[in-house]
Structure formats: structure tokens, C-alpha cells
């Protein structure tokens, strides 16, 4: 049952979801990072659990939901990580992931081979404390949300420190535990300023430009946003983490739409689970499933050039997929 949000020349339609709870294989566990590759490939970074450590990157096909591989594993050695905070892919489809536990950046190639690990825990320039969100600029330098240092730092892909800006606080260009981060096509920076319940837009050099959202629970307000994405038209998507929704703004900050989650269908993976457990289907038929359709702690966002909007739900073990129609016209009713 597709659900569509319509707003000034655009439409956002729920398409599908992918995921189910699990520790390996065609399952996700507390997904917190999203990246896309060529040929319809989706990468999802999973936090895992401490009781049954299973931090990993799930690689699968977005449209068919075919599971391909688990990349990386929990730990502190090469190719291992804990507490993933963000995931991005470069132009070669190499994957970069923040390991918040070790305060390092871990990279893999698209086949899952470990490439490198860099970063030094600390608070000096170029050091990191619980780094989370990351994003590439057009030169493929990495901007990192240096969360517990309340700043943003810029590095080359192989870890050479370039610059740093921001400090702890709530003034313009200050941050409180920033999380997700994104750049638009003009290399402006958007930072999910988690503790200040806002998204700040900054120039590529870090000077304040604009604020999206203010603390609250009403339309267009934010409660501890976790992620931000900008599509090629400049529309800004914010994962309103503690309000359990995604908010879309026009480039100038005008509120556009709210996505609350519409996963009324089972994912391909979940279908197998329900089919194998007849009493599960019965129990689901008895229960009011609405809470299951809705977003629960959206922690990562990705909006592609194909206008596919991906929302990873940290507490629902899945990715909800929406499609933006950038040229929506209300059909004539008499058609």
C-alpha cells in the first residue's frame, strides 16, 4: 500500500523496506550507516549487540534484496570495528566507516577486503573522540563529525589531517555532540547538531550559513537529529531521531514534508521468517501492527541521484525506502 506525501511540486512515496532482526546473513542489527554502490548495491553498517557481537556491514542488492555478504566483524584488529557511526563510499566504491569505540576510520574495498585503519583517539587537532558521521566533498576529502570533541574535522581519505572547526556550545558554528554530516553539490556542509536539536549549514570552510529546525516536537521542529542528506535539487532531509521521523525542508529552510514510516509490508527477508513460523503469522494478524510500520530512531539517511530516499532505523532493523517525484503535478480529477 504505497503512501504518498505531497508537497509543493514534489511527492514522496513509500516503496518498500529491507531488513529483519538478526546477527548475520540477510538480517540487520541496529543499522546506523548507509552507502550505495554501482549496480544497485546497498551497504548497511550494523551496530550489532554486545551480548552477541555482530557489528558488520551488510552488502545486498537494493531492488531484489538479494543478500551478498557480511563485511568486517566486531573487534579491534584489522578489518574489525565496534560502534559504527557512519558509512560512506568513494568513487571507487571503497567503503569508509567510523569506529566510534576505537575513534578510528576503517576502510574496505567493495568486496569486503580490509584496506586501512587510521585515526588517533584524543582531543588535539587531528585527533578524534567517538567520531560518527562522515561525508566526502567534491575532492573526496572526508569531513568527520568529531562527536565528543564537539567539532568537525577534515582529512584526506588516507587520514592526513587538513582542518578543524567548531567547539562545544550552542551558538552559531558551535556544536553539541554532532552526528550525521552531508555536503551539497556546492560543497556546503550540513551537520546534524544532535545535542542542540538543529541542523547547521556551513560553508566548506566552516562558517555558519543557516540553521534548519529548532528544538521541539511540532511540525518542522527537531529532537536530537542524527543524520542529514541533501538531494540534487537541494532539498534537505533530516533524520529527526528522537521524534522518530524524517523531515524534509526546501533549500531555504521552508518545511516540506514529514515521513513517519509506512512499512506496512514485510521485507523479502522478513517474509521467509513469517513463512517458517505459522504462529507468528497468527500473532501478527491479532495485533495492532501500526507501531511496527513507523520509523524508530532513524539513524542514517541516503538520498541518491535517482531520488531514492533510504532511511536506516536503528531500532527497527531495517531500511525504509521512499521515492521522490521532483516534478509532481496533481492529476486532473476528471482525467
Amino acid at each position: 500500500m504505497p503512501v504518498t506525501q505531497i508537497a509543493t511540486g514534489r511527492a514522496f512515496t513509500y516503496v518498500d523496506n529491507i531488513g529483519q532482526i538478526g546477527a548475520s546473513g540477510p538480517t540487520l542489527r541496529h543499522p546506523v550507516g548507509l552507502a550505495r554502490g554501482a549496480n544497485d548495491i546497498l551497504y548497511v553498517a550494523n551496530w550489532g549487540t554486545e551480548s552477541q557481537p555482530n557489528a558488520r556491514i551488510t552488502k545486498c542488492v537494493l531492488s531484489t534484496q538479494e543478500w551478498i555478504a557480511d563485511i568486517g566483524q566486531p573487534g579491534s584488529g584489522d578489518g574489525e570495528f565496534l560502534w559504527p557511526g557512519g558509512l560512506i563510499a568513494d568513487s571507487n566504491e571503497n567503503l569508509y566507516l567510523t569506529d566510534q569505540a576505537a575513534s578510528k576510520i576503517v576502510s574496505f574495498d567493495k568486496d569486503g577486503n580490509f584496506l586501512a585503519k587510521w585515526g588517533t583517539p584524543g582531543s588535539d587537532q587531528g585527533q578524534l573522540l567517538r567520531p560518527s558521521g562522515l561525508a566526502f566533498d567534491s575532492d573526496e576529502n572526508i569531513f568527520i563529525s568529531d562527536t565528543r570533541n564537539h567539532r568537525v574535522q577534515k582529512f584526506t581519505k588516507d587520514g592526513t589531517f587538513l582542518s578543524s572547526f567548531g567547539s562545544k556550545g550552542s551558538a552559531e558554528d558551535q556544536f553539541n555532540m554532532p552526528w550525521g554530516i552531508a555536503l551539497d553539490k556546492d560543497d556546503n556542509l550540513y551537520v546534524a547538531d544532535w545535542g542542540n536539536s538543529r541542523v547547521q549549514k556551513l560553508s566548506h570552510e566552516g562558517s555558519f550559513l543557516q540553521t534548519f529546525g529548532s528544538p521541539g516536537h511540532h511540525k518542522g521542529e527537531l529532537d536530537h537529529p542524527s543524520a542529514v542528506a541533501v538531494d540534487k535539487d537541494g532539498d534537505v532531509y533530516i533524520a529527526d531521531w528522537a521524534n522518530n521521523r524524517v523531515i524534509v525542508f526546501e533549500p531555504d529552510g521552508t518545511f516540506l514534508a514529514t515521513l513517519i514510516g509506512d512499512a506496512t509490508n514485510l521485507s523479502e527477508w522478513a517474509k521467509g521468517k513469517v513463512a517458517a513460523n505459522p504462529d507468528l503469522a497468527k500473532a501478527r494478524a491479532r495485533a495492532d501492527l501500526e507501531p511496527e510500520w513507523r520509523l524508530w530512531h532513524p539513524a542514517a539517511l541516503h538520498v541518491g541521484d535517482d531520488y531514492k530516499i533510504l532511511i536506516a532505523e536503528a531500532q527497527h532493523m531495517r531500511v525504509q525506502i521512499y521515492q521522490k517525484d521532483p516534478n509532481y503535478f496533481e492529476a486532473q480529477f476528471t482525467l
Binding site: 531488513g19 529483519q20 532482526i21 542489527r29 541496529h30 546506523v32 551496530w47 550489532g48 549487540t49 554486545e50 551480548s51 552477541q52 565496534l82 560502534w83 566510534q100 569505540a101 567517538r130 565528543r148 555532540m177 552526528w179 544532535w194 536530537h224 542524527s226 528522537a242 514485510l266 521485507s267 527477508w269 522478513a270 521468517k273 513469517v274 513460523n277 507468528l280 500473532a283 501478527r284 491479532r286 495485533a287 495492532d288 501492527l289 507501531p291 511496527e292 524508530w296 530512531h297 539513524a299 536503528a314 531500532q315 527497527h316 532493523m317 531495517r318
Partner: protein, 471 residues
């Protein structure tokens, strides 16, 4: 440095919280005893921050909505050792131990944590309202089978425990009262749940099903009427036995170990006057728990030295107190699971008490296995000189370049929270230090490290004493 004020403050913080570092004790003692009691009781009015649930949810998504019971246990324990509002958590633990609900049957750790959160929100409020909350709590309903308590087929499990364990105590009601209670609570049940797979658990929901409620007249404790659950709770709360029972529980938890609860009918309270006084305050305040606690903590019987260390620490106190003392987890980090499990290994598996009667307390916390476990946990923690709390103790003792064995032992006892040990134990500690030679801080890196080891060796031995098992 020792002082009566600090020793009393240490007693208050062990009971109204999970202990405190020496620096905290000094700061609180400087502020004053009554002011500290007020701050513990009224954190909002005193600018104490609320618990930061969002940071927990961000860094521990697996613990926020735990799939494994051990992660639920870890969540509760994490609150105990990271809270800025220790009395709130201490009362949360009190109610958990009293309204003992076990995940072994509920099998839903997030739902268990909802119950714990209810205790956290309302545990220092009004007892009658709390009982209502418990009666509508989905975990409790499932735990005591009230979802199977039907108009045509009553189930007495909840009704009995409400009277026996949660309010009046044995001997104050009849079997008929139990039956009437069960009938009054028919129709109090839970909605069909969303299965935990394929995606994630969701919270259960209470529902009152009027069509399954027994609307006939009931006689309960001499009252007659078409009682529903609320009416039963109104009547229960007004019983003198309820005030006595709750007062004795508070005394047992905050003041001094009593005999085990099932023996309360046969053994009078250790201090009947104190229990009566608590009960009076409870009734006069309209069953306000905060008012009752204010009276308790400011009373002479609580401050009296005869009740200091008159309780065997429960494992949650041992674990949370140790983590707070050494200053671990100031920043979120992986490793919360073993801390939660440590309580379980010592005999208190939070969110999973062995039965509705809760844990046996006092000396029954200790057997050979749990004693080894608790001694080793505390000793290992205190031997870690990298921990800020341990470092602070070493540095403080190191402010004098040389120490006599007596000074080292007394200093360690004091800095661990004005711990008192018997003379014989102290002598053993002193002898032990003497046997290792002169104590000198020195200035080279090796000397400083060696000095630190001398200190942590004493801290470990103190952790191993019998006296240290009391709080």
C-alpha cells in the same frame, strides 16, 4: 582528614545512593547533611540534571531496547552507576526488589525495563498511585497471570501477591479477601502483542476489558460493594497493616537488615519504634514516599552509629558502588555487559529475581561462590590504578612523601568512604603493610608506580575483609 560529618555523609550516601568518592563526600559534607538529603529527594528543585536517556540510546542501541536479558540487566545496572540522581535509582531498585517481576517468565527485557522506568518516574511519588501503576503494568500482569484472570475463570495469582507481598503482608486478610481481590481485577489485561520478529519488540499495552470484568458485589476486608481494582487498592492502602509492612520494608532496605520477609509475622521488628514512626509519617503524608524518606533520613535512628554498616550490601550496591568509586564509565564505552552480569554472578540478576518473593537479603546474599565473586570484583577494580577514582586515592595518600603502615591503612579506609573495621582486622592490615617494608612515594616514575602498588594492595585487602561486605 577524617571527620564525623564525612563518616555520617558516607553512611547517608551508601544508603540513599551507591556510595560516593571521597571528594563527593567532602563536597556534600560541606554543604550539610539536611541540604544533601533535600538534594537527593528533590533533584529537580536543586538543579540536578535528569538522567540522560538519549545519550544511552545513542551509544547503546542494543541496551536501549535489549534483545538479550543480559542487556536489560546491563541497562538497569548502567543507570545505577551513571545516574546523577542516586536516590531515584535506589528507590527504583527498592521497588524492583519489592514488586519482584522476573524476565525468566516475562521473557521481554524491554518490557521489564518499562516497569523499571515506571519505578524511576513514580518511585518517590505516591504509594497508592504506584500500586495502580503496578496493577496496570503489562509485565506484572503477565508475570502474575492477571491476563488469565477472567470473569468466568478467576485466577488468584495477582490478587494474592498484591495482599501478601505488595501491601499488607501475611496474616492480615482472609482467603476470601484473596478471592474477592482476584474478582475485582478481572478484565485488567494486555492487548495482543506485536511479535518480536521479524523486526523488533514493541511495548505491551494495558487494556481494561469491561466485558470480562466481574461486576457482581464483593466483600473485601469488611467493605461491601461492586468493587473494581481501584477500589481494592483504596481499601488496601488505608489498612494499618499496609503502613506497617511498607515501613518495615523501608527500614530493612535503608536502615538495618531485618529477618527475611516471610518471618516478619513471627519476629517483631528490630526497632519497633522506628518502624512505627516511619508508618505514622507514611500515613500522615497521605502515602507520599518522598515525605516518608525525608523523615527517615533525618531521623536519629537512621543517623545513629549503631546502624552504620548494619546491612550486608546487595550485589547491585557492590557493583554500582565500585564503578562509581573508581570513576569508570564517565564516558560511554563498550563493556557494559560484564558489569550487569557481575551483579548476576554475585547473586542479583537485575530484572530477573528468582521469584515474586524477590531476593533473600542480608547475610543470604553471601555464600562461598558469591563471596569469592564480590571480593574479586571489588579487589580487581580497586587494583586498577588507571581508573580516576583509584588514582585520586593514590595521589591523595601520596601528598605525604612517607607514611607509616598505620597511616596508609587508616588513609585507605578513610578514602574508600570512611570504612570502619574491627581492631583485629585493622591490625592484620597494618601487619601486612609492615611486612612489605617502608612506604615512600618518591619521585621517579618507578617509585611512584611502586607507591601506587602499595596503596592498591591495601585497597584490595580491605575489599576482601568481612567488614567491607557491609554497607
Amino acid at each position: 582528614m577524617a571527620g564525623k560529618d564525612i563518616a555520617l555523609m558516607a553512611h547517608l550516601m551508601r544508603r540513599a545512593g551507591f556510595g560516593a568518592t571521597y571528594e563527593e563526600l567532602e563536597a556534600r559534607a560541606a554543604k550539610g547533611y539536611e541540604a544533601t538529603v533535600e538534594e537527593l529527594l528533590e533533584p529537580d528543585a536543586n538543579g540536578v540534571p535528569e538522567y540522560d536517556e538519549l545519550t544511552l540510546a545513542r551509544y547503546f542501541p542494543d541496551m536501549e531496547v535489549p534483545s538479550a536479558p543480559a542487556l536489560g540487566t546491563a541497562n538497569f545496572m548502567y543507570h545505577l552507576y551513571t545516574t546523577p540522581r542516586p536516590l531515584v535509582e535506589k528507590m527504583t531498585l527498592f521497588w524492583h526488589m519489592l514488586f519482584a517481576t522476573g524476565n525468566s517468565k516475562v521473557d521481554n527485557p524491554p518490557e521489564m525495563l518499562q516497569q523499571i522506568e515506571m519505578f524511576r518516574q513514580h518511585g518517590m511519588g505516591n504509594y497508592k498511585e504506584l500500586l495502580m501503576g503496578v496493577a496496570k503494568d503489562p509485565s506484572m500482569i503477565f508475570w502474575l497471570d492477571n491476563n488469565q484472570n477472567h470473569k468466568l475463570a478467576p485466577n488468584e495469582n495477582w490478587g494474592r501477591e498484591l495482599l501478601e507481598l505488595f501491601s499488607m503482608g501475611q496474616g492480615n486478610y482472609s482467603e476470601d479477601d484473596v478471592k474477592m481481590t482476584a474478582r475485582a481485577f478481572t478484565g485488567w489485561t494486555i492487548l495482543p502483542k506485536i511479535p518480536r520478529t521479524p523486526y523488533q519488540r514493541h511495548h505491551w499495552k494495558f487494556i481494561y476489558k469491561a466485558e470480562d470484568h466481574d461486576n457482581s458485589e464483593k466483600t473485601f476486608l469488611g467493605h461491601k460493594g461492586n468493587f473494581n481494582g481501584e477500589d481494592i487498592i483504596d481499601i488496601i492502602v488505608d489498612q494499618p497493616a499496609t503502613a506497617q509492612f511498607m515501613a518495615r520494608h523501608l527500614y530493612n532496605y535503608f536502615v538495618a537488615d531485618e529477618v527475611q520477609v516471610p518471618s516478619w509475622l513471627d519476629f517483631p521488628p528490630r526497632d519497633p519504634e522506628a518502624v512505627n514512626a516511619i508508618a505514622d509519617t507514611f500515613v500522615k503524608s497521605g502515602f507520599e514516599i518522598k515525605d516518608t524518606l525525608r523523615f527517615l533520613f533525618n531521623s536519629d535512628f537512621f543517623k545513629d552509629e549503631s546502624v552504620w554498616f548494619a546491612k550486608v550490601k546487595n550485589p547491585a550496591e557492590v557493583v554500582a558502588g565500585t564503578i562509581r568509586l573508581i570513576g569508570d564509565f564517565k564516558e560511554p564505552r563498550p563493556g557494559v555487559l560484564p558489569i550487569g552480569l557481575e551483579g548476576a554472578y554475585q547473586g542479583q540478576d537485575l530484572i530477573n529475581p528468582p521469584s515474586v518473593e524477590g531476593w533473600h537479603t542480608g547475610k543470604e546474599w553471601v555464600d562461598t561462590g558469591s563471596l569469592v565473586r564480590r571480593v574479586n570484583f571489588v579487589a580487581d577494580s580497586l587494583s586498577n590504578a588507571d581508573m580516576p577514582g583509584v588514582q585520586a586515592i593514590i595521589n591523595r595518600l601520596g601528598s605525604n612523601d612517607t607514611l607509616t603502615p598505620e597511616q596508609l591503612v587508616d588513609g585507605c579506609l578513610e578514602l574508600l568512604g570512611a570504612i570502619r573495621v574491627e581492631d583485629g582486622t585493622r591490625q592484620q592490615l597494618v601487619d601486612h603493610v609492615k611486612a612489605s617494608g617502608e612506604i615512600k612515594r618518591g619521585s621517579s616514575e618507578d617509585e611512584v608506580r611502586a607507591f601506587g602498588q602499595r596503596v592498591t594492595e591495601v585497597l584490595q585487602l580491605i575489599a576482601a575483609t568481612r567488614e567491607y561486605q557491609f554497607g
